[in-house]
Amino acid sequence: MDGIHDLGGKAGHGPVVHPDDEPVFGSEWEKRVLPMFPAMAIAGAFNLDGFRSGMEQIPAAEYLTSRYYEHWMHSMVLHGTEAGIFDPEELERRTQHYLENPGEEVPKATKPELVEALKQLIPNGDDYRRDVEAEPKFRIGDTVRVRPEASTSHTRRASYVRGHVGEITHHHGAYVYPDSNASGLGEDPHHLYTVRFTAQELWGDEPGAVNSVMHIDLWEPYLTTP
């Protein structure tokens, strides 16, 4: 989707504000939201690509001015509503309730099997690599052009490289294809490459990118011969 999230190369976002003493979680509620990600994914509310796609549907102005875990909540509510987990009216009613009673804690209940699942998931992760029969179309050293077309759904074909010519530096094997997986159309794995672009190719004479190159990982359907 050609949305506001596709930030590479955009101007006007100001300096990078980087406090040295930032805590891991900015507020207590952020600690509660983080684990909702694996819990809701395990419950089948979304996969990783669908979760990212959900964040891309935040209204553009809100995207730029809201906190990171707000983005997460937005996608969780979107997918959780579609999956029948959240009823928007009930969610709003409870939000108002907790807003009016800020000292009230959420009723507690344990789920030991989820703790056990997390003890496996955190140190082992998930696996997005897949075997495919198709041979890779491109080789290391090949010159490729990123397809320039607009996009109406989730993609990792970042706008700043579209239409530009780069060189394949790595071939990684085949991986779940986000464009398909995010839309619930299956994993449809494709070969994945790292492509290198010169700053000159992407930006021209940009003073902040003198003697610089940019690499980005791109799936085979994103690429064509120049």
């Binding site: 930032e22 509660r32 694996p38 730029l64 001015t65 990684h172 994945l192 003073p207 791109l218």
Partner: protein, 210 residues
């Protein structure tokens, strides 16, 4: 209540949420997820605690210090960072496949995710806010030298800058150069010099005398 101020805003319905509102919304979500048996309070406490207290940039610092002191480990790290980190017991979620990028006198690496916030959790923990916010994500690929200067790193133009945009499920981190003045230092001493920012590539590692 629709105030005049609301009526003249460029975007209808745009609201900035207070911390109290966000806390209330998170509680509302949690209460429903707990009731439906999708999450447990114990699971929430467990996962938050892991990333608050256990998994963070001190792990990446161990990997870097090991590579600085053990040339064979360094070779394995650069050949396959996932396997090399696994040797030390590190790996997992949001770092299923990791790639280490070696800085030299002539090349400096820097890592970003322009589309969201991909970051090597097993070695660096959860990303800082600036890594996830628009300024860094927009500028890292177009003004990497300007961004580095804001972090206090002014590289000569003769050093090539290589930016890596983490757009797939591969996770990148930087193996910075070992600083001068650390001959004979132990791994533990070296670990203390390695910062998160150096492993993202927006900073270097300070010499102990600097």
């Amino acid at each position: 209540m629709t105030s005049t101020d609301d009526k003249i805003q460029p975007v209808a319905g745009l609201s900035r949420h207070s911390d109290a509102e966000l806390a209330a919304r998170a509680k509302a979500m949690e209460s429903i997820l707990v009731e439906k048996g999708i999450i447990g309070s114990d699971a929430i406490d467990y996962m938050s605690s892991v990333y608050e207290n256990e998994v963070g940039p001190q792990i990446g610092a161990k990997v870097v210090a090991k590579a600085w002191t053990d040339p064979e480990f360094k070779a394995r790290l650069l050949a396959d960072a996932t396997k090399a980190c696994e040797e030390l017991g590190f790996g997992g979620m949001q770092g299923e496949e990791m790639i280490a990028l070696e800085d030299t006198e002539s090349v400096h690496h820097m890592v970003v995710c322009t589309l969201c916030s991909c970051y090597p959790w097993p070695v660096l923990g959860l990303p800082p806010n600036w890594y996830k916010y628009p300024a860094y994500r927009s500028r890292a690929v177009r003004d990497p030298r300007g961004v580095m200067k804001e972090f206090g790193l002014d590289l000569p133009e003769s050093v090539e800058v290589r930016v890596w945009d983490s757009s797939a499920e591969l996770r990148y981190f930087v193996l910075p150069m070992r600083p001068e003045g650390t001959d004979g230092w132990t791994e533990e001493q070296l670990e203390a010099l390695v910062t998160r920012d150096a492993m993202i590539g927006v900073g270097g590692v300070q010499s102990p005398g600097a």
